[in-house]
């Protein structure tokens, strides 16, 4: 005979004392850490205020309204404009060199990355040498070389400039033909329209190819449409192109590429392209080999295999590290300050040298750089999400 199972009366839950309660401890810990960090920051801040007050240095942003007392070449900016406008011009210059640099570096980097996997031994070796040599050299050394070595040593003085008819090369600028008397926006809009035309024709031809089975020939039709729209559009707008000429010591006509801009851009492109080449190579190698083999089995040419099958998949993998390199390029453009290129850092240095308070001035520059980084990462994340493989 077994004893009937006894049901125990529920034991009242013991309340853990608050000093052993995990939640309380966690909060106590982070509040303590927070206050320690805050106290440290406040100590730093109070030191700053004391030290600057003792010497009468302002700590606000009033200096932005002061006259700049320096001129920025290449922009409509004279020495009486405000420091605020100088900052804006500096920011514009940073953005300009970053965009051009990103585009050129991506193109060059992709080509070299593909070259590293080429079947041609010489191309493969040359690309490897390029990547390994440039990747391991500091960017500042490369930039010093392009400025002091290339621009100052190799390029001729204005008296002995190389005049190739439509391009003039000298060490105080490269003159290229440029339009005048029409708005750049209109010309740019026409080119954009031409791209839209190409895309529309491509869609049409793909549709025709699906229905009737004939070759799409997108390149032929699209290319012709592109050229047609571009030429007709520009002819209608009627821009005049001025060729560069040497007038005394200046380059008249056309537009002058600033030698500092040129050397900084070239250095940034060379350096970032070597990093991008490695990323592209890694991404291409990460695409399953079967894809390439299937493409060969379908009798696609090498170029078609790369451009239609492998590269699109590779670029999808490459977007996050590529985005990282773009951010690096934007930040590295700040080195242009050492070579007389008027980007944001240079403008900040000069205003500080002319009497603006240092900490607010540099703080403002940092805010701009962080904002640029955020915007770029947002774009990269957008692209990543858009092109990501949709998995179940």
């Amino acid at each position: 005979m077994t004893a009937p199972p006894t049901t125990k009366a529920p034991v009242p839950e013991a309340r853990t004392p608050f000093y052993r309660n995990v939640k309380v401890l966690a909060w106590a810990f982070q509040v303590t850490v927070f206050f320690v960090v805050l106290a440290f920051l406040l100590w730093l801040w109070s030191n700053y205020l004391t030290n600057t007050a003792n010497s009468g240095i302002p700590t606000n942003f009033d200096f932005l309204s002061n006259p700049a007392s320096f001129a920025i070449p290449g922009a409509e900016f004279d020495s009486n404009e405000s420091v605020r406008n100088a900052y804006v011009i500096g920011l514009m210059n940073t953005i300009r060199i970053s965009i051009v640099g990103i585009i050129l570096a991506t193109i060059l980097g992709t080509l070299i990355g593909i070259g590293r996997l080429s079947k041609n031994w010489i191309v493969r070796k040359l690309s490897t040498v390029y990547v390994e040599a440039i990747r391991n050299t500091p960017l500042l050394v490369i930039m010093t070389f392009t400025f002091l070595g290339v621009v100052l040593q190799v390029m001729p003085t204005i008296e002995e400039a190389w005049n190739l008819g439509f391009i003039i090369v000298s060490n105080r600028g490269i003159g290229v033909p440029w339009y005048s008397e029409v708005s750049g926006a209109a010309l740019f809009a026409v080119v954009a329209l031409a791209f839209v035309g190409w895309w529309a024709v491509a869609k049409w031809r793909h549709g025709v190819s699906e229905r009737t089975g004939e070759l799409a020939r997108v390149g032929l039709y699209g290319g012709l449409t592109f050229l047609l729209i571009w030429i007709v559009g520009w002819w209608l707008i009627g821009p005049t192109f001025t060729l560069p000429m040497i007038d005394g010591r200046q380059l008249e006509g056309g537009i002058r590429i600033d030698p500092s801009y040129f050397s900084v851009l070239i250095a940034l492109v060379i350096y970032t392209a070597s990093q991008i080449a490695e990323i592209v190579r890694g991404s291409i190698q990460a695409v399953p080999v079967g894809q390439g083999e299937a493409a060969s089995a379908l009798a696609l040419s090498g170029f078609q295999r790369m451009s239609l099958i492998v590269l699109p998949q590779a670029m999808r993998i490459a977007i996050p590290p590529l985005g990282n390199q773009y951010l690096n390029l934007i930040k590295n453009s700040s080195l242009g300050a050492a070579f007389a290129y008027f980007e944001l850092t240079n403008v900040t240095q000069i205003t500080v040298g002319n009497g603006s308070p240092a900490v607010p001035a540099f703080f403002l520059a940092l805010v701009f750089y962080v904002a640029l980084s955020f915007i770029t990462s947002a774009f990269v994340n957008l692209a990543n999400r858009r092109f990501k493989l949709v998995e179940r």
Binding site: L49, N51, T52, A53, N54, S55, G56, I57, P58, T59, N60, F61, D62, F63, S69, F70, A71, P73, D78, S79, L148, V151, L152, Q153, T157, I158, E159, N171, R172, D247, G248, R249, Q250, P259, S260, A338, F339, A340, N346, Q349, I350, V352, G353, N354, G355, S356, P357, A358, P360, F363, V367, V370, F374, A378, N381
Partner: protein, 367 residues
């Protein structure tokens, strides 16, 4: 997730910006009161002069490569006009002209080094301007060298004067008065100049030598030294005759250090006064028992005062009584310093002569 992160960071930035702008009101008034009333004590509540004398070493802000003014030799010595004034201040304050720590500074660091206390006095061919007195928090002292801004061009450039330079590239040092002056001069004369600033003179030399700069603009005194260093010789360049701004160069200390400021002032005046009386390093000992009691007071020698007592003059500057003697003995008078470093470069005294020789150097009487 990303949006949340973005929001968090933006909030943080917003808070920081808000904190900065909310300091506006209190700080401008604070800064204002400090400037108008006599500042209370030095940078850290004590007299900087006393601190230097306790320390036994003067931290003098200078540079390492401007021929004639301050050059760092291979032996580690600083040689030049400004370096000698550093030594003079040390000789006066500390009795030893070599008790100086020459701190090499970049052009962009000059004022921040002073503001932060990294140096006690800045003797680095720096121009005295209103905004530097004000917003840089510096107090400029007696001018040691009245200079102006000049322009150096290549000898075969064909330029004879500033007006010839239209549509040219002018290279200057970043963050100096030369930048603003060049821009202002171009505006004033209706010339088109592209002013390119570089961090240091080495880069400007490269650009100038390669023909990228048509003109190199800097203080005339500095240009004379640079001319002597040209790789193709001094004849390969030409200093244009026009001097187009006033550049009074002199030492500076940080606002609020009255005693040190006065002391430095009187060291400079001592060198000028010595030259007025013809006292040099060689003959200063002979002047110790001069008949002129003013000279004896100046050198810290004893003199008989109104009551018939033998005493020395203590002007209450906080300096040792014989500071002028030490300065002359260990470094020299103004003329000797100038002749030692600047005359070999071909610089004439010009406006840097004594007042009775038609120049601007005039020392207040030491009594």
């Amino acid at each position: 997730m990303k949006t949340k992160k973005l929001l968090v960071v933006l909030t943080a930035l917003m808070l920081v910006l808000a904190a900065c702008s909310s300091d506006d009101g209190s700080d401008t008034t604070e800064g204002g009161t400090d400037a108008t009333e006599a500042p209370s004590g030095g940078g850290d509540g004590g007299s900087l002069l006393a601190e230097v004398m306790d320390r036994g070493e003067l931290k003098c802000g200078t540079r390492d490569a401007l021929t004639g003014f301050a050059v760092l030799t291979a032996d580690g010595d600083h040689v030049g006009f400004d370096s000698d004034f550093c030594r003079a201040i040390a000789a006066a304050l500390l009795g030893d002209a070599e008790a100086v720590d020459h701190v090499d500074l970049e052009t962009s660091d000059r004022f921040t080094a002073l503001q932060s206390g990294q140096i006690d006095v800045l003797v680095r061919n720096t121009t005295w301007t209103a905004s530097r007195d004000g917003s840089e928090g510096a107090t400029f002292l007696a001018t040691t060298f009245y200079d102006g801004q000049g322009m150096m061009v290549s000898a075969d450039s064909g330029f004879a004067g500033i007006e010839d330079m239209d549509g040219v590239i002018v290279c200057v040092a970043k963050g100096t008065t030369t930048e603003g002056n060049a821009a202002a001069t171009a505006d004033r004369l209706g010339l088109e100049w592209e002013v390119r600033p570089f961090d240091d003179n080495d880069l400007i030399q490269e650009a100038f030598g390669a023909g990228q700069c048509d003109g190199w603009s800097a203080d005339f005194g500095a240009l004379v030294g640079i001319r002597g260093d040209q790789p193709d010789g001094p004849e390969s360049v030409l200093l244009l005759p026009e001097v187009f701004s006033k550049e009074p160069l002199g030492p500076a200390v940080l606002d609020g250090n009255d005693e040190l400021a006065q002391a430095v002032n009187w060291v400079v005046f001592a060198t000028i006064q010595a030259e007025e009386w013809g006292i040099t390093t060689a003959n200063v000992d002979d002047f110790l028992d001069s008949e002129d009691s003013n000279i004896r007071k100046f050198l810290g020698a004893t003199f008989t005062d109104g009551d018939g007592n033998e005493t020395t003059l203590d002007a209450g500057l906080g300096l040792p009584a014989d500071f002028a003697y030490q300065v002359i003995k260990q470094v020299g008078n103004y003329g000797e310093i100038f002749d030692r470093h600047l005359t070999p470069l071909g610089l004439e005294r010009g406006v840097n002569a004594l007042w009775f020789d038609g120049g601007l150097l005039y020392a207040p009487p030491y009594r």
